[in-house]
Amino acid sequence: MSGPTAVAEIDGLTVEVGGRRIVDGVSLRVLPGRVTALVGTSGSGKTTTGRALLGEFPAGARVGGSVRVAEARVGYVPQHPAEVLNPARRVGALLHDIAREQVRGLPRPRRRGAARERVLHALASAQLPEGEALLRRFPHQLSGGQQQRVVLAQALLLGARVVVADEPTTGQDALTRRRVVGELAAVAARGIGVVLLSHDLATVRALADEVLVMRDGRVVESGPAERVWSAPSHAWTRRLLSGTPAPVRRAPEGPRPDAVLQVRGLRARHRPGTEVLRVPDLTVHPGECLAVLGRSGSGKTTLARCLAGLHRTYGGEVLLDGAVLPRSLRDRDRGLLAAVQYVFQDARASFDEHRPVLDQVARTAVRLRGLPAARARAEAADVLGSLGLAAGSTARAPALLSGGELQRAALARALLARPRVLVCDEITSGLDTVTRRDLLDLLAGLLRDRGDLSLVLVTHDLDTARLADRIAVLDAGEVVEQGPARDVLTAPAHPFTSELVLPAVDVQVGAEDEAAAVGGEERHRLGDLLGAPDPAERDTGGEL
């Protein structure tokens, strides 16, 4: 190849862990001042490849091929910058240690001042002008944005010629994403080669010069970003880039069977006196999918928790087949527990990390349906198989499964109770686009195949809500609109709903332009729709 010399080069890298190739023959060149993006779903091997540039490999890995990096060390910006900031030390601790190494050559009395000078300069270069005061703070006293810039400052201070950024925008709101994109662009502008590992396509599109699309440890397509975007040559790339939402389901015609789940006059409180949710009337029919759509903090998770018996302090009643459900899980008998099952947003946290997934899934059938262990395991293997999880992977500990796989296992675990109603709380957020779409297809399949299973989908994501027959829109604890999905999505009656429905589609493709075009108030709203904690919650340092 011609052009400028690469600051880092990977040639034919293979990484094998336990006989499984997680990276298979990957080659890439990182050029100074350019952004090279590795794109792929989780588990595609992009993080392992990025880590290889840092000289780090999974424990017990067999490594082949070569990794060459220019003289200086490689900088690293992780998905959660707080992870690499020591909670027990002030922010300046690591920065001072890095700088101290660099001033070894100076006479002793001048070292201190010179090191300090370097640290402050690095902070200023990372857009942290108030460096002095910042150095004396603890990481938890910084906002998320400041934490990220401190981590960038570490890399700049190091004099890194290459910076690896691992999912820097995933799970962030639109405003934060825009800021991170700006910061990484500024890093590249200093002549540093940036390696971006991401499944956030909007960010990749805004930043990347070169794109490598990865799948199952291999690079399936690579080239200049514009070319890959406009004319993807590989089928997998096309699938990754396509955003076809699931079709809107049509509500069944004719007279409805009796409701399976009914909410009447529900008013939920958190602490005495603070009412967070008012739902006068909500009905779920057998075989129906109801989406509860709203921004974070709208009370939608509280509603789901009331249905499942996880939130006890409410007035009014929740009825299953016309009979009042006890408020607390503890007062529900096996049959009632099995009838209403819950799938949590964070699938990983909902599994015991020390026991094989299959055993944990099978346990539901033992506990709630009284099956003998062997039959429960057989049935669990069946259900897991039908959700596309092979016996080989489910016999392992949860840590060895990807986020998408675990979410499917969590679904299987709930299904094994043979529930009448399945409550899914934001189960698609935090997943990459392809995995999310697969999971939505799976849910659609469940609705089709398991005749009278009803779904309650709690979500902020319109793509997910499209799966539903009916949608209830929540805002600030009130149901502002409910009706057939088609009507709510295409002809919203309430102003809040129309606001919710209109911009989101564009934001999915070009978050940057969109966020720039709207006012501050609007941005927060868009941020929520994009699946992020409220920016006001994250940026406690009051930097904006």
């Binding site: 780090e56 690499v84 020591n86």
Partner: protein, 317 residues
């Protein structure tokens, strides 16, 4: 930073309340003695004349709240009352005995911290390797031996068989510093178990810290190994270790009865033993107040340290 200030103020207030509660509790417990303190003092051969004399000395005929007010008022200017047995002020007992106990405790702590932390860091550094196995096995083994058994064993070997060290501090009075040889065995016995518990605690926290992403980041950016261990990983092990250390120092300062009795050291533990044997209620009360206050103060200190090194944790206040 005002957060830390108000937190410390609240914690101090709570410490004051705890001290007051200790004083009240000690008084209430004495009041709760069957009959009254005079009957309890008179012992197995109750002599009506002696009971009457004690009643008068302790002014037991006055209402309880007046006596509490008097006693608590005295405590405020370090007047602990008078011993029933010798007639000496209780304060004198305490100040005489405090010296030897403080000496033992401070010597032990000075050796305990580097030994416990050093062993813990060493074991964590070589986690799962022979060094770690050895340290872990020895600390667990020593921890299982009670002080009196270890004390007797050490005295038998080093004092009686080998004759290297004096078996007890008999005859040295409170001037133990003048006879350092007499301190070796007691300090060894005092060290044995705290070193083990501190080492195990530091090891566990260090293993977590060394596996953390922030330590990986420090290594990645070229910080030297020892500096990573002591300056970046160890601070995360300090918070739990400080709490453990406070409990240990508390235990040391409150007169380690077994060790002081074994080596005949005239410390607070010995005073407590004698006072209980002689049913000298004012001395026991005085000791109880001192022990209570020491506990409150040490835990206050440990909470402040923990708050500094685990700034995110909501330390109960």
């Amino acid at each position: 930073m005002s957060g830390l200030g108000s937190w410390a103020a609240r914690r101090l207030l709570l410490g004051g309340a705890q001290t007051a509660a200790v004083v009240l509790l000690v008084f209430a417990l004495t009041e709760a003695l069957p009959g009254d303190a005079a009957v309890a003092l008179a012992g197995d051969q109750p002599d009506p004349a002696r009971i009457a004399a004690v009643r008068e000395a302790m002014e037991l005929d006055r209402p309880a709240h007046e006596r509490l007010a008097d006693w608590a008022g005295g405590l405020l200017h370090a007047d602990f009352g008078t011993s029933l047995v010798s007639g000496r002020p209780v304060g004198a007992y305490l100040s005489d005995a405090f010296g030897p106990t403080l000496l033992l405790a401070s010597l032990t702590v000075v050796l305990l911290v580097p030994a416990g932390v050093g062993l813990g860091v060493l074991a964590a550094r070589f986690e799962g390797r022979p060094v770690d196995r050895l340290v872990s096995a020895v600390t667990l083994g020593v921890y299982a031996v009670p002080e009196f058994a270890l004390g007797v064993l050490l005295v038998t070997v080093f004092a009686l068989r080998l004759g290297w060290l004096p078996p007890t501090a008999v005859g040295y009075g409170t001037d133990l510093l003048g006879h350092p040889a007499a301190l070796v065995l007691p300090v060894l016995v005092l060290l044995s178990r705290p070193v083990c518990s501190l080492c195990r605690l530091v090891r566990a926290s260090m293993i977590d810290a060394l596996a953390s992403p922030y330590v990986a980041q420090a290594r990645r950016y070229g910080v030297a190994g020892a500096r990573v261990r002591y300056a970046h990983a160890l601070p995360n092990a300090v918070a739990p270790a400080a709490q453990q250390l406070a409990r240990t120092v508390d235990w040391l300062l409150c007169g380690v009865i077994v060790v002081e009795a074994l080596f005949v050291i005239p410390g607070l533990g010995t005073v407590l033993m004698n006072a209980v044997a002689e049913r000298d209620v004012p001395v026991v009360q005085g000791l109880a107040v001192v022990f209570g206050v020491v506990t409150v103060v040490l835990n206050l200190g440990a909470d402040l340290v923990a708050h500094r090194f685990a700034p995110r944790a909501e330390v109960a206040a």
